[in-house]
Symmetry: C2
Subunit: 316 residues, 2 copies
Amino acid sequence: MALTPDATLGEAGEFGLISELVKIFEGDEHVLVGPGDDAAVLRIKHGHVVVSTDMVVEGRHFRRDWASASDVGHRAAAQNLSDINAMGGTARHLTIGLAAPADLPVAWALDFARGFAEECASVGATVVGGDLTRADQVVIAVTVLGQCTQAPVLRSGAQPGDVLALVGRQGWAAGGLAVLGRGFRSPRVLVEAYRRPETPYAAGKQAAEAGATSLIDISDGLVAEAGHLAEASGVAIDVRTDAFVIPEPLQAVGAALGADPMQFILGGGDDHALLATFPDAAVVPGGWQVVGDVREGEGVTVDGAAYDGPPGWTHF
Amino acid sequence: MALTPDATLGEAGEFGLISELVKIFEGDEHVLVGPGDDAAVLRIKHGHVVVSTDMVVEGRHFRRDWASASDVGHRAAAQNLSDINAMGGTARHLTIGLAAPADLPVAWALDFARGFAEECASVGATVVGGDLTRADQVVIAVTVLGQCTQAPVLRSGAQPGDVLALVGRQGWAAGGLAVLGRGFRSPRVLVEAYRRPETPYAAGKQAAEAGATSLIDISDGLVAEAGHLAEASGVAIDVRTDAFVIPEPLQAVGAALGADPMQFILGGGDDHALLATFPDAAVVPGGWQVVGDVREGEGVTVDGAAYDGPPGWTHF
């Protein structure tokens, strides 16, 4: 069937759309069987596989009027690729489940797939399978498989005396989301940061090779994720606000919205920056910024005091 | 937080529920890192990984008043495990994404997880990760990883002269669904077959070792799946209705609903029976039943004629 640009999923049918989607997702030499059979078959170079899964829900994680289909594809891929980054691994293969209403335009699904494939290509990963079904709202489920060439870096290895370090933009996506939530479209650089994160994909492996003792990606907020590190490691973490230079666009948004721009940095997620602990400031790799330290005890403090800002993203 | 039996997801929160869920999903010696970090880490015995993903949507694939949470868990797992079976592989590890309304009872989520874990345990597979988020309806996304000890059996290897063979109950789940759709709850054996399929998990590897030339699981209907084999292999397939003995419960339902019970067998999915082609009837393994043959040409015929019954499940 030839698909017209304004066809809906209901008109195209499952197999009509799938035949277009598989053209977007090209395999690589490690994909022995790609989309189209009951399962994909992958050649794994060596013995350890890193796997993670994440869902993206319309109205909850994105709005079709706030981000293009391609942007949603980039973000859905980035959010999953980032989980492999946060283990110090390299993402290789992904599956996508797309549940959508029958009136979803085929063009949206294809643009989503193109954005998704572009983001994956930026780290050399490919889509090897998927599922397509009907639901009342768009729900995207992604699973990513990766590999580590060294031991994966877990959340649980931080030690008192370690330093806390950050890599990547932090708070920009939260600033962009706040702008969109008030009905504005600028500063454009923040709106774009929300729509399509610039994920520090090389930094996870870099941290692992530099001897990071713990590692996590910031999807729910800096303080919230520092709390996950602290809890898993059985330590306390203190974040120092004077370590951050507040970027000009966040200062502008703070002034315009009457908000403290530091709240975007401490509470914001969605940039997929990485947070790690290192045994010594001297081994923190280039591009990373020391933003705190690890102590005996439990919980997270900001400048030595309890944090009373927004707690970060909650799913329910 | 202590969870009361009648708490909702909104009351329990993401982390309240996750802490209960991870108790249900126990790892095995191949799970180096299980749920709770950014990704799971798996030890893979040898070099090929088989991966598949499938979504299950409330109101589309199940109704909470037609099946218990545990049944939905069993079915969601079975549907994915069956895809590895249909490659001749053995399922090892799974991830689950659960998107659900905030008013979903925690008890439903936990019973679902228990049913899911039980079905996985029946083949020695374990849950290694997942995601939990909010959506307007329950959407379950499962990804399964498996391995093959021999070459995977694809859809594309059928040759003219091969025989078509089936293993497992076929049409029972469709009969059960028809009964429920009319507001009845019996014959109970069919309703149970719809709620919790009896999947022939050992038969995929058995077919591969016996030299099957193509293999698929029946989730969308026997004729529809035979059509997928025919298309992928570039052959024609004829199904013979006299090969089937119609089971008594399907005869009873046909009589009660005024339907031809053969339609449940030819058009029904959801039993996750397997359909395979073998080069010769003499090599068809025990438990399999020859139900047709492979010819030159294209498409599927039933008793040599075009099939005009229900086409099987369509997703849009």
